[in-house]
Subunit: 188 residues, 2 copies
């Protein structure tokens, strides 16, 4: 697949087939993610792989609960736009994906958000190059329950930065409209 | 170029030929950057293109000065490791690149850092797919001088997130060693 084709096929996928994704493929994609640029070549990213939809549902419920509490405390919160859907008991933030890959890292590192986000970009492209679909689900990382964090293997000093739903798409959605890019100034 | 080849050729480049990069190519790459995933499809990224090495040198000097002040105030600062090199008057954080592309966006947006970082990942891959080299130069974004911000066209409400040096590489550096990825847990 050329880069052009890849750019067209990497879409945020919200409807998945139920076929599992082999650990071999997931490991390959994680390996490719670690080729992303990162501050000082520290490669501080860590990964957790969840192939269990019951566990994913519990993460979804925990995260929804915490985001709704955040919205209640601050109606101006960015997530307020998702309030109605978050309140639906049946709504699963990971849709029906068979797999969830979380990218996380030590919160004390100054560049950890950028580094894990770069790895996430690579991971989503690596998935698209294999016909797999992904969706970065920001609504799925508000986990506060300490027991759940322990169960998932999240170290105490780490922030979950990119929870990425993964699976074979039922179809590749069309490219949503993009605005012309805002180039503020060209200095020659 | 396949995705595999692209992964191997996207390296952080620190030595550039002096040939300019055409605005047509830069615009193409910026267009491709806007295909990156982003929160709520808001596409909040903005771009500034600088093809002037004198202006880039002034940005480098301003940023070095501010980072050195930050280090003086807090020796534990992440950038302390770069103190010796930052103190060298002749050191240019953008190396000898002929071009600098800055990705920036409104600081008030909750996900602006992630969104601009995703666009930056796409931009760096788009450059590699055209034989161009890039380097995300975090040491080049500490601009505080209001006159300079105005000259560059940085809106008051925006943070510069990714300053990316751009140009044709004198050579593609080899892939630096990567650690085996830390997969903390696989839950089946």
């Amino acid at each position: 697949m050329t880069f052009d084709e890849l750019l067209g096929s990497r879409r945020s996928v919200r409807n998945y087939r139920q076929d599992p994704v082999s650990q071999e493929l997931i490991t390959e994609m994680i390996n490719e993610s670690t080729l992303a640029p990162n501050a000082g070549n520290e490669q501080p990213w860590k990964f957790i792989v969840i192939n269990n939809q019951a566990v994913m549902k519990r993460i979804s419920d925990e995260s929804k609960r915490n985001i709704l509490a955040r919205i209640a405390a601050n109606p101006d919160d960015y997530a307020s736009r998702y309030k109605t859907i978050l309140e639906k008991e049946g709504y699963n933030v990971f849709y029906n994906a068979p797999c969830l890959v979380m990218i996380l890292g030590p919160a004390r590192l100054r560049n950890i958000y950028a580094d894990c986000t770069l790895a996430a970009a690579y991971f989503m492209l690596a998935a698209a190059s294999r016909g797999l679909g992904t969706c970065w689900v920001n609504l799925g990382r508000a986990i506060e329950d300490q027991e759940m964090l322990t169960e998932l293997g999240v170290p105490d000093d780490c922030d979950i930065i990119a929870p990425i739903a993964l699976g074979y798409p039922t179809q590749i959605p069309p490219v949503p409209k993009r605005k012309p890019p805002e180039i503020l100034k060209i200095i020659d």
